[in-house]
Symmetry: D2
Subunit: 365 residues, 4 copies
Amino acid sequence: MSQSSFGKKFVVTTWGESHGKALGVVVDGCPAGLPLTEADIQIFLDRRRPGQNRYTTSRKEGDEVEILSGVFEGKTTGAPISMIVYNKDQRSRDYGNIAYTYRPGHADFGFDQKYGFRDYRGGGRSSGRETIGRVAAGAIAQKILGQLGITFCAYAKSIGPVEIQTFHPEVIKENSFYMPNMVAAEKASHYLEQCMKDMDSSGGVIECRINGVPAGLGDPVFGKLDAMFAQALMSIGAVKAVEVGDGVKVSKLNGSTDNDGFHIENGVISKLSNHAGGILGGISDGGEIILRAHIKPTASIAQAQQTITKDGENVTINIKGRHDPVIVPRAVVVVESMAALALVDALFCNMTARMDRITEFYKKK
Amino acid sequence: MSQSSFGKKFVVTTWGESHGKALGVVVDGCPAGLPLTEADIQIFLDRRRPGQNRYTTSRKEGDEVEILSGVFEGKTTGAPISMIVYNKDQRSRDYGNIAYTYRPGHADFGFDQKYGFRDYRGGGRSSGRETIGRVAAGAIAQKILGQLGITFCAYAKSIGPVEIQTFHPEVIKENSFYMPNMVAAEKASHYLEQCMKDMDSSGGVIECRINGVPAGLGDPVFGKLDAMFAQALMSIGAVKAVEVGDGVKVSKLNGSTDNDGFHIENGVISKLSNHAGGILGGISDGGEIILRAHIKPTASIAQAQQTITKDGENVTINIKGRHDPVIVPRAVVVVESMAALALVDALFCNMTARMDRITEFYKKK
Amino acid sequence: MSQSSFGKKFVVTTWGESHGKALGVVVDGCPAGLPLTEADIQIFLDRRRPGQNRYTTSRKEGDEVEILSGVFEGKTTGAPISMIVYNKDQRSRDYGNIAYTYRPGHADFGFDQKYGFRDYRGGGRSSGRETIGRVAAGAIAQKILGQLGITFCAYAKSIGPVEIQTFHPEVIKENSFYMPNMVAAEKASHYLEQCMKDMDSSGGVIECRINGVPAGLGDPVFGKLDAMFAQALMSIGAVKAVEVGDGVKVSKLNGSTDNDGFHIENGVISKLSNHAGGILGGISDGGEIILRAHIKPTASIAQAQQTITKDGENVTINIKGRHDPVIVPRAVVVVESMAALALVDALFCNMTARMDRITEFYKKK
Amino acid sequence: MSQSSFGKKFVVTTWGESHGKALGVVVDGCPAGLPLTEADIQIFLDRRRPGQNRYTTSRKEGDEVEILSGVFEGKTTGAPISMIVYNKDQRSRDYGNIAYTYRPGHADFGFDQKYGFRDYRGGGRSSGRETIGRVAAGAIAQKILGQLGITFCAYAKSIGPVEIQTFHPEVIKENSFYMPNMVAAEKASHYLEQCMKDMDSSGGVIECRINGVPAGLGDPVFGKLDAMFAQALMSIGAVKAVEVGDGVKVSKLNGSTDNDGFHIENGVISKLSNHAGGILGGISDGGEIILRAHIKPTASIAQAQQTITKDGENVTINIKGRHDPVIVPRAVVVVESMAALALVDALFCNMTARMDRITEFYKKK
């Protein structure tokens, strides 16, 4: 395998390269009877589409999705759902100069070591365009989760040094960066202008909050819910750290501060705080799930960088082409999608955890 | 499944509870012909054994491992290797008081929600004792990797607010905390004494460095090497964040700073820096691999905490019993073991990446 | 992996060799809340135990099972269930003469080619004793299935040329061969006496019928219910053919004869015949499931046979030792167990097939 | 999952329905560097294409395959290979009458029980057209295996009562039935004419022989090579029995007849007979691998049959439409493809069986 699949019960397999004919995904394990149209998918894909504004690559791709199988009379049938997006604007000439030179910060060198050669056109399989399949699949996952009352909210928490101070979810889609704060977005805009002038790029942080998750999801050992989220988020290119709840801060806390007390009022159980980010011992505790992915700056920059060629010569490279100065804004929906994929899988895996519920399930049927 | 297995080719399945008869692991997929004795395993288990010093639980467990299968005439046979450690000092009376009360910071509530009831003795399946199986399996993984020139160095990077300043790997095993700095260890000792006086606990950070990893390991999409490490490390109880290389810092860096240039000298390829922590685009780049796990403070503290009972009453709980004031020191070898398990799996998965090498492999045979 | 695991949701991992310290199994994915004791398991193990009569090996093994984990207060907890059986009568001297010689009909040659060497004591990992783990796990599977009204009936359909004519399930456990016909059992006894006199061995056929299986289990493509049964049964040593329903006969039938018409009466749907053996297009149709496994004669015979040594010399071998003249009787419960494992897995996998049932499952919860 | 994937290392995921827009497959885990063009695939697809002669459905499908990803500059890159075949002649009107009626011998009833409704157009996901993806993937598997000297020969061994007597592989592609005997093919033709006159259908047997397989493939327990073949072949619609080597005959043989002696001459090891069909204890023994699949008669026949409707009424159905009177000829290449998929997977899985070979693999690299 080249491990292009994710999930155990809701199994997603992506395929395609940046400059190939098309990209796509097969979703195997979607339950039958879910209403589904291409519009349900497109709305998510539009959030990661290039060319949304001056901070995203100018590559012209409508990224229109087509459903090829698994849907009949407007509903999923239980058969695999194959979705495809054709590449339209794959200007290979942009990338000719990197065929023989290893770009710093990219997987070029590793690819050649692993496979003996590589599809050098625009990152090939390692391109951010691969995430089209993830987002298309994630849209289905979110539709399923939505029917169970589970909702997602992902956004840019910081762009470079610019961090949001107050949280206004209603403005997330009102700015180019998907930040929940317009002042921060304005500052981020200025920061990025400077980066672009400097032929440089910026990193940032994406946060994802999930509400309505029932307690009890996740398995106690290797299948911990947070372990699944960690794999899911770290599998996104450019993510170098993943946090759950208080994340890196916990190492400096004491137990008396970090522990979340439980409380009951009128029969409703809640926690007095949520340092844990909704997951204890790998199992959801009914609280809001809070995840963060730390994104490195775009590796492709126009500044001169030292590197080597395939033939082993030291050279200097300046990377031209159409690159986002920051990956964060378009990656917000990717983080959200991966979180949704991990969660729907945990939800499905959980259905066989108790004998009484299995008996009830089959008795009724 | 309850997802008690880890790995695709080197498959590790742990079993057992804190206060059950025994704990163990089955390693399926260990190649034949590896010299292996119980001593190879014991040396790793001794590093996580309780009772090493006053900062670890006083539970008395020799944690002596027995190999039950898969080894013949001193070598592995290719058959599954079953290993067992019997529990000796499972004083269940310590835990009677928590049978009906949900401990803050623990998975008790989630367990009851998931399974309808739980083995409340000492955390049951969620106990740190479960990691005995991981460490025993990790010992085999490290033995395999050692034969290929791959070496591990894991240590406590910080205990609460005490962070190491200079790195002295030779003293890691010279102090109770597995810190690579004796001054820091001394400070950590003072800090923990205060925590214990306060009936409180501390978190910390574990770092793991891996050398000798060939470039080309890891798969480009969901099976990224760092994604596998992230799942592996986050699957350890109490880990709330995982970093690779510069980790959380990258979000504030620019591409010109974060990118590692490549360089060649006398035919040897190296990188001019290692912000990436040895992994680019999910594939190893030949550099040192650097991982960090952020550990939350021990959840079991003697201070009064608010919580609820199984029957839905608000109560106050003081957790007695034998608990480590900080998990970090004993978890160092667990982090190392999980990293080794993820790496050996990536190494095995990688063997079918190239047609020329497959042909050569079978031609020779 | 050496593929010692079976199942996707109810995952069974066996370990151990014929002459090692012990054999066992880890069952991961058993739902919580199933009442379970060692007696539930032992009753199945006793059906495959050696020394039941003069047609089984005289090796003295009580095969007493011990549950080491996953059960608390008499019920499964959802944690992996580890079970162990210690070897008592491993007389290695019996097998010394085959260390360097490849026994015809056995995997000795293949093992050496694959692994470079082998545990030659009594077949090692390839021994029939490996099935102890399968039967122990199968006992749990049957307990689960029993709670859902699904029942198994397996028996010897033929021993060598002796085939049952009429079916009397009540006598299956009344004779040494687990045949549902006392006359046939008598004839089989005579036939085997002659085989033993001739220093030869016999094959036979095992049939397994399963009642109460709801329609709708199995997945339409690679996970067809019959495909899962086929893998399950063919994975038993000595099975060389697997049939479902009319099996090999269908190739000579016409559609008008082979098709089973559907019929409804008083709201109850049934089939007018059951050529299909309860599975259509890989999905259960509500009818009785009928499986057959064809077992080859015991490979170990005392007659002289031509073979080669490890060093490449042609030699003659006479295999001494304690061997069953026919494998069939003790394999009956193994076939039944593997069928149960495949079925419980299909049952669990099926629970996420429909959105309406998933919604109902989580709404209630 | 709906289990639309096959394989552990060479992972094949098929998608698509009989009357949907398209069908296809994603092959994940194909090694990099394999020369591959659409012509390599098409030659296999043409063997299963409809409309080859009067014994196959008159549905008009060119079944032209397009490779969408994973191939660059004429070679595989290690990335997933996505292949697509568009449906052209999906006359849905043919199938309208079966939307509410369960066809005997088909999975219609099971589908509705499982999923709540179904894509009733031409069998939907259960259509033989799903095998397009299997054959396309199998073509790649055979190309890989061919480079290692492994060759396949599959053919119709019998059509209804007409069995081949002598074996002439050179004529397999010279007749409509892919029989290795022209006289038998002539007889089969007469037999089928009669079936068609009778508005009836016929079954048959497909045999597949594989040469050049190295000894040592397959894993000793659940991953036995024959178990993998059994799942692979039984997962083909209409297969009701799978045999290896002497298959069902072994149950009547004695050990002295069934065992294959080993022999060495001039350093070359061979077997004196091949009752085992090239597999002993689940591991290849270096001999020719012999597999047989028993195919039931086409379920769709024009004769009146009793059945029920979705609403629970007893009715009579006559199935019109374009149906093959016998599935066998077009299924020959499907059996061959599934055998190739199982074998390439076993070959890849086997590469980590020995420590010495792993060391050598990575030392060289």
